[in-house]
Amino acid sequence: MNTRPLMTMQVRVARVLDVGAVPYGTRRIAPLDGGTFEGPRLRGTVLPASSADWLLLRSDGVLELDFRATLQTDDGALISMKSFGLRHGPPEIIAALGRGETVDPSTYYFRTMPRFETAHPGYTFLNRLIAVATGDRRAEGPVYTIHEVL
């Protein structure tokens, strides 16, 4: 698999809403109160409205992430981003993340597959690509390193 860097995105989690036990697992919702993204071909901010991560802790201990965010580039384009991801790891590492501690991201699995939609002519290349991201969960919110799959 060949990839090239697309961007690094840092988002801020405002608070986490505990929905609780739903038929498929334990649901939490993490609304975002903003963020930034930066890469060779695009940079800008993550809009707080309509951006959140829907987390589902499955019975096998894997956390499914269903992330939606609206990005605004520095030249005013709006980009809709959706990603599906998985996070899991050794229980003590996951517990440390839960306590908001800084954890080496190589000690757990946190990967997502972002997809983008835009109408802006300057960014239509985003409509045509598959991307893969590695995540680093920090106390203030995750940092994603997003790669374009070539």
């Binding site: 699995y109 597959m113 409509n127 045509r128 690509l129 590695t134 940092v143 390193t145």
Partner: protein, 137 residues
């Protein structure tokens, strides 16, 4: 800390299809269904056959690219069943055909499939579509 992305081979998936079903123009684009009649998959950690009954729902979009929505059932050589669904992009103008597969299984031996993300590269050969699928590490 940002991290590079690495992958390792998971399976090579070969599909056989029967004549297409042209649904035609829908609100999303032009929909064509490719029924899957069988096939095989092979990798270091799993191998077996593709069961008949799945299909690939391909929508040709207004921007010239196609999106895939493929769902098939795999039967490993030990009889375990694995459900596989994938979405993807096929953009012939740019020779770009990449997929995002997902797996679900109840077989403990293959539970690792429930916990991974994968990326596929696909090509259409004379004998049918071939997908090279890699696990994202």
């Amino acid at each position: 800390m940002t991290m590079p992305i690495t992958a390792r081979p998971l399976i090579v998936l070969r599909l056989t299809t029967s004549p297409i079903q042209e649904i035609g123009s829908t609100p999303e684009g032009t929909l064509t269904i490719f029924p899957v009649t069988g096939g095989s998959f092979e990798g270091e950690r799993l191998r077996g056959k593709v069961l008949a009954g799945g299909g690939d729902w391909v929508t040709a979009r207004s921007n010239g690219m196609m999106t895939l929505d493929l769902r098939i059932a795999l039967e490993a050589d030990d009889g375990s069943l694995i459900d596989m669904t994938f979405t993807g992009i096929r953009d012939d103008a740019n020779r770009y055909f990449r997929t995002v597969p997902r797996f679900e299984t109840a077989a403990p031996r293959y539970a690792f499939l429930n916990r991974l993300l994968a990326v596929g590269t696909a090509e259409i050969r004379a004998e049918g579509p071939v997908h090279l699928i890699e696990e994202i590490l």
